[in-house]
Assembly symmetry: none
Homo-oligomer: 235 residues x 4
């Protein structure tokens, strides 16, 4: 190249481009670790669809995987340069929703309530404020909760198969409340909105299961509301 | 909603969602200002395709619009919260490339060389470091330079129509050097790479114009290299 | 631009284009208000799926939101220039159907019959004639009624869960009559036709609920027709 | 149907629905007439691509077809109920752009300038104000002008083939001015914007034709600007 000015200008960029590519490779590596832990936790929690007695044990296994996620996320947090969380978050966006889903499902199975974002972040060793850099995004939290609702509709179906007629009623109340919670939100017309629009199918599905139980007189009694809300893992 | 826990969790999110939407609206407003300035500068610089004598004046008009962009960008910089540049940069990504294109074209017309990223940022009142928050991204700079190359191929065509047979030769050398500059870069397989792949068509187009001029003996002489490199605006 | 004729022609259009964009922005603002009221009314009316005793109270809340809609629609009517209702109605088309749905559901819950278009328009402070400019479109009215039918099928399901075995029978008769009503219409092959075609699934769904109740001998007696038609809100 | 209320409500709608369908059928009939005239005018004007001497005659034929369009548009105007132009304009939206294109092309061939919207409307027997009901929409006018630009790039190519080396230069100036005209407009991100973005390809194409003529020394002389702008039909 004859033009020294241009050569100088471009020479300076390669350092930047190479560093970025290296960093992305490192991120991908950590993300693969999280992906592995997510897979293990998912497999463990699948047992809820086929057994009433192994739920507690599955939650223990899942908790161990969250501990692995926690370690990976701390490495990830150290990798991301200040102010560049949103530059790289495409790498873990989807996976983070899966992790939140698993944490929320586990806490629901253990305790019967919705884990909030702060506790989810704590379990995963993450911050919650944007100013803290690597943090648990509100959108990722909400999308993870929606994933749980879909899993719960499947759980309601299989509970009936396993002979547990109280579980679907508790799930129905819980998911109806989630639905009302999302309705409170001022969602703009984006991905979260569309995903929330699909929640109604989960709600309807679970209501129909409860209907089938009710019409056949399979509900324990009409005052089962509180006991039905008991966490699955304590059964 | 009967579930107090869920209500509390969701109530807290609306504040966040509303603030985000307000901020995006404010960003859109400033971006519209920049868009207007870009339009005016573009119209002014179009004169290079139809007149040999009005180039300097057009550069003066464009420079005034860059001053307006500078003011808008400073407002934009004040709007973006720390560490969230990459969260919102979709709003100005494309427009920033247009601004860089116009600055690079203007400097080339005035001085005959490639403006570097630091000077471009200075003209636009922007920082250059990522750590500084709102900054002139390297990718946006490079994509703007590629837009200029395409405009220069059109400029070469119309220079011939206007009877200026030296200009295409100078442009050819300049764009060939740009091409060599981009070849130095370690581009991964992304948007920048694809856009760079299209640069070869501009290079080829300009080379054919120089060929047409050469084969017809329309070049002043074989030592016109230096005079041809003279900026257009000084003619 | 050197061409004075062209410059003059185009100069005149910007005023038009800017005014249109301003108007659309104003319309969007009012539509957002209606959207908020729709959201509140929807949340209030969700209670019919989980409680037999709170229906009346929910209708009162919904009515208050219709009052807010009424005020917004009057502002909207003032915004739309004469003869341009159909130019801008994409902004409120979908939302209008939601409002009609909520009004029709509320009136059904209160009185047990189908609100007609005139009364719906009156509740919302709208005209009914096209010549009046901003009016309640027949298509929007019909599409809103179809939305209600789907909600009623869910209501029938949950009534059973709540132990109300008369409600589904009343709903079944009502929705069957809606179905007959739509059959009277000479629908062409458009959106309304397609949406009506889906009504049969709601009809079928509700019929199956009534079947489930009947086959299990859960119906009060065979002469419950008139009492079942009693509005929910009076229970 | 047992429900008298519902029957009454629906009975009233059929009259409305039938009238609408009848009206749409009548509109379609008139639109077919216009379509036929557009076809004839298009065929007549195709001669500009193969003959230098038959342009005037082609314009005369086209003008006769515009007279037929004029009569059809007057029938159409009488059909459209007050305030419902925008309800039915999907029927003629596309065709109207074709008609404007043909009128603009004919006037350009005859006189060498851009016909304005008022004159176009006059030729077609249409109003220009929205308040007048059936009128020539600004968007349709602008889209028609853009169609003409594409045809002119083809005309420039074929003029060279026919040995007319001045025509492309005049077209180049004209289309460059159209381009500047469109740049003045505050277009939002819609169909018109996208269509305008494609104009640059027409501009570039024509510039390259002028380039080819220039580099080969085929231009009459450097002062041909004014004579080149002379209308084609007067040759």
């Amino acid at each position: 190249m004859q033009n020294v000015v241009i050569k100088e200008i471009f020479d300076g960029f390669n350092d930047y481009l190479n560093k970025e590519q290296e960093l992305r490779e490192q991120i991908r590596e950590v993300v693969r670790e999280v992906d592995q832990a997510v897979k293990e936790a998912t497999i463990a929690l699948q047992v809820i669809h086929s057994s009433l007695t192994e739920v507690s044990a599955a939650c223990v296994v899942a908790r161990k995987q969250f501990e692995l996620c926690r370690q990976s996320f701390q490495r990830l947090a150290a990798l991301i340069p200040e102010g560049q969380y949103y530059r790289y978050n495409d790498h873990w966006h989807f996976l983070m929703q899966r992790v939140v889903f698993l944490v929320a499902l586990t806490v629901y199975l253990e305790k019967g309530f919705l884990v909030n974002r702060d506790t989810t972040a704590e379990i995963l060793g993450m911050k919650t404020k944007q100013a803290d850099g690597f943090h648990l995004d509100i959108e990722d939290y909400l999308l993870g909760v929606l994933l749980m609702a879909t899993e719960l509709s499947r759980y309601a179906t299989n509970s009936v198969t396993l002979g547990d007629y109280d579980r679907p009623l508790a799930i129905s109340k819980f998911v109806a409340d989630l639905n009302s919670g999302f309705r409170l939100l001022n969602l703009k017309n984006d991905g979260l909105r569309k995903r929330f629009d699909a929640l109604k199918y989960d709600v309807k599905k679970i209501e129909e299961i409860v209907y089938d139980i009710s019409i056949r007189g399979l509900r324990a009694d009409s005052t089962t509301g509180s006991s039905a809300a008991a966490p699955a893992a304590e059964q």
